[in-house]
């Protein structure tokens, strides 16, 4: 404890000795088997993006089939189901969860709380490599006999392990389950790191209530993930046993093709409960980091302090807690006890309260702000609009009587794509445009960025607004082909074709984005250490990009919260967190 407490400002002395960092000796330990959270964060992000691209291509294939049924006859019904399943699972778990927690979490947490690295860099490194292994196993299922599983991303038994489902009696489901279990083990190693780093490794002066909301949200989402993933892990183990050893945890007595199967007495509902006990918190594991990051984007680019910081923190925590008691609103049509529907509809509507508080606070932050319509700000605004849209349809689906007729239609698909697909992805884009200058030292190209934004934003609405409508008409989800159903008007088919064209155009815009990422690495404008004039610690590093150990010789000391923008009387319109107060304390 070499550093004494500071009598001028009242910042206490250092409690924890400066840790011995692992120093890489070669190119391989520096960039491949790296223990530096920043490198691990980039590795996570690149891997997640790569597998996400696979899922994007799958969505095009599905859209081609839905928009122009019969034209692309190389897409068989079995393959269509496999595309749906893999698209959903990859996007939710291997892209969004990994990118927000593994990618942004690793890169930003140590920098934003003023630590040199995560608390256990070695476990952190293992976390990435196990994640990579999980991704490779998942990708391998495309090449396995019988192809990947086509059970739908929810993997509901009994159908997921029976012969009628693609991959049900082949390798597909086994590879999916093994990959998920590995993902959970890998995530746990990383997740423990994020939580302990936030709780126990903040720098001097960094109290919990001075942390940027980005850190608060990733922290809360990680705690939730550590409590929700066990349910998925356990259901994977039991489903695997049902499939491999012929146990009957989830399998009731069944007759298949006139043959009595060797299963008896299991509970398919048990799987659904376990799955959604994980699955619903998972929605917020993805949404909370988006909430936190977007708060920081809005505050920085509107040059105003976040409105109601304490409310925002408590809303994050309350949403996190409530999201553990709403899971069965995914199961209104499952045949569970109807009284459950009453309970879960109530909790579902209650969770709208803290969420609405957050939306109002974002708006009030913007109110009379000095709004800079930078690309991160554009994406942040797009997020608010999209999230509100998706949230409103959530109120429809959260009510049992409205949900039952809508439950298996495209309305649900449109709802969750808006609220947990498009909205968080917008935040991810905004965050990349925001932090790319810190990560690489160069700005992303502005023109390409604006093109990317407008096509993605307008395109998302042109895709998903019509989809809500055809869902209300009763067009079912998960159908390879609608055929000649009397209740589906011809216009629905035209809309389907329109959605497909839009999806392809939006997909093209993502290619521009990826090109921008690569192009700006060399040709982007020099960013300097703090191009957005932001207050948070990651912009105050001595080097850009931040070097090994983040802070050089002296650790930063934090004197203020993260949102000192446009402070009256201050020389500049922002005061970094590590700028000492003028004049004596008190």
């Amino acid at each position: 404890m070499s550093i004494a407490s500071d009598p001028m400002t009242g910042i206490p002395a250092a409690e924890v000795e400066d840790v011995e960092l692992y120093h890489p000796h070669s190119w391989i330990t520096k960039y491949v088997f790296s223990q530096d959270a920043k490198v691990i964060g980039i590795q996570y992000s690149l891997t997640a993006t790569a597998i996400g691209l696979v899922a994007l291509v799958l969505s095009w294939l599905m859209r081609l089939q839905l928009g122009f049924p019969g034209v692309f006859d190389f897409i068989t019904p079995a393959e269509y189901y496999q595309f749906i399943t893999m698209h959903g699972m990859i996007m939710v778990v291997y892209l969004l969860t990994a990118l927000f927690l593994g990618g942004f979490g690793n890169y930003l947490i140590p920098l934003m709380v003023g630590a040199r690295d995560m608390v256990f860099p070695y476990a952190n490194m293992l976390s990435y490599w196990i994640y990579l292994l999980a991704v490779l196993i998942l990708a391998a299922s495309f090449f396995a006999p019988g192809g990947p599983t086509g059970a739908g991303w929810t993997l509901y038994p009994p159908q997921s392990i029976l012969t009628g489902t693609p991959g049900g009696q082949d390798w597909g489901i086994l590879l999916m389950l093994s990959s998920l279990m590995l993902f959970i083990i890998g995530f746990t190693m990383g997740g423990l790191n994020y939580v302990v780093t936030v709780l126990q490794a903040r720098t001097r002066g960094m109290t919990l209530m001075r942390m940027p909301l980005t850190v608060w949200s990733i922290f809360t989402a990680t705690v939730m993930a550590l409590l929700a993933f066990p349910a998925l892990f356990v259901s994977c183990v039991m489903l695997m046993l049902d499939r491999l050893l012929g146990t009957s945890f989830f399998m009731p007595a069944l007759v298949e093709m006139g043959q009595r199967l060797n299963h008896e007495g299991g509970s398919p509902l048990l799987f659904q409960h376990l799955f959604w006990f994980f699955g619903h918190p998972e929605v917020y594991i993805v949404a909370l980091p988006a909430f936190g990051i977007v708060s920081d984007l809005i505050s920085t680019h509107a040059r105003r302090n976040i409105f109601g910081y304490r409310q925002m923190v408590w809303a994050i925590i309350i949403i996190g807690a409530l999201s553990f008691v709403v899971w069965a609103h995914h199961m209104y049509v499952s045949g569970m006890n109807p009284y459950f529907g009453f309970f879960f509809a109530t909790t579902t509507l209650i969770i709208a309260v803290p969420t609405a508080i957050k939306v109002y606070n974002w708006l009030l932050t913007l109110w009379r702000g000095d709004i800079h319509l930078t690309i991160p700000m554009l994406f942040a605004l797009a997020f608010i609009v999209t999230f509100v849209n998706g949230g409103l349809t959530g109120l429809f689906l959260g009510n049992v009587v409205v949900d039952v007729p809508l439950s298996d239609t495209m309305f649900v698909v449109a709802h969750f794509h808006m609220v947990m697909g498009v909205a968080p992805i917008f935040v991810i884009f905004g965050a990349i445009y925001h932090w790319y200058p810190k990560i690489t030292g160069r700005m992303l190209n502005e023109a390409m960025g604006r093109f990317h934004f407008w096509v993605s934003f307008l395109g998302a609405y042109l895709i998903f607004f019509p989809m809500h409508y055809i869902g209300l008409l009763g067009v079912p989800r998960r159908y390879h082909e609608i055929g000649e159903a009397a209740f589906v008007p011809a216009s629905a088919h035209d809309l389907n074709a329109f959605i497909t064209v839009m999806a392809l155009i939006v997909g093209f815009a993502q290619m521009v984005f990826l090109f921008n990422l690569a192009w700006s690495l060399r040709h982007g404008r020099e960013a300097g250490p703090n191009p957005w004039n932001a207050t948070t610690l990651e912009w105050q590093t001595p080097e850009t990009p931040p070097g090994h150990g983040n802070w050089g010789k002296a650790m930063p000391v934090v004197y203020r919260w993260a949102y000192d923008y446009s402070v009256p009387g201050a020389a500049r319109d922002f005061i970094p967190q590590n700028e000492p107060p003028r004049g004596p304390a008190g």
Partner: protein
Amino acid sequence: MEGSVRTQISATAHRTGGIQGFVGDWSSDQTTFKDVSWGKAMMWIFLLSDTFVFGCFLLSYMTVRMSTTVTWPNASEVFALEIFGTHMPLILIAIMTFVLITSSGTMAMAVNYGYRRDRKRTAILLLVTATFGALFVGMQAFEWTKLIHEGVRPWGNPFGAEQFGSSFFMITGFHGTHVTIGVIFLLIVARKVWRRDYDTGKAGFFTSRKGRYEIVEITGLYWHFVDLVWVFIFALFYLW
């Protein structure tokens, strides 16, 4: 300045006890749990997560026990042994439980001697704990063998509902794996204690972090957790 006043309060408040101390700790900078090392905090949070794993396993077992239409076998009879001609229900499980709880005692003693930096006693007690753990796993292997000989399989058994066998093998298997991992870690830590790694602060092979006697306590946390989980398995699977 308002901000600096707030830090002064938090800097002094965490030294008091009670609710005020709690609030002070949570509103202070640097560490939330004062005097808790990173490793110990990490183990506690991991155990919380692992609690959910075992919780899900046990809840699932209770659900399938309700969902099956076939009668549930009487655990006391299935797990009975004939010893010297006497029929003794649950005797093996009782001995196993006794052994595991005893190992928690020796573990606690190891932690205590560790903090006294009594190298030899710590190492010996860790070895004793590991031996008890291995003994537990050995008896579990005996139990599995006996049941398999009697025709109990994960997919069916002669005594009643097939979920009995599936749950039994899955839950005890998962717990046994935890015990086995614990034994391995106990042996590794015992070796390090014996080699004076924690006296000299020798760096770990993988992590390159300095070794400290606190590692004994962190291993102990895991070990006590595994014992505690067994109590629940014992109560909910064997006694019910």
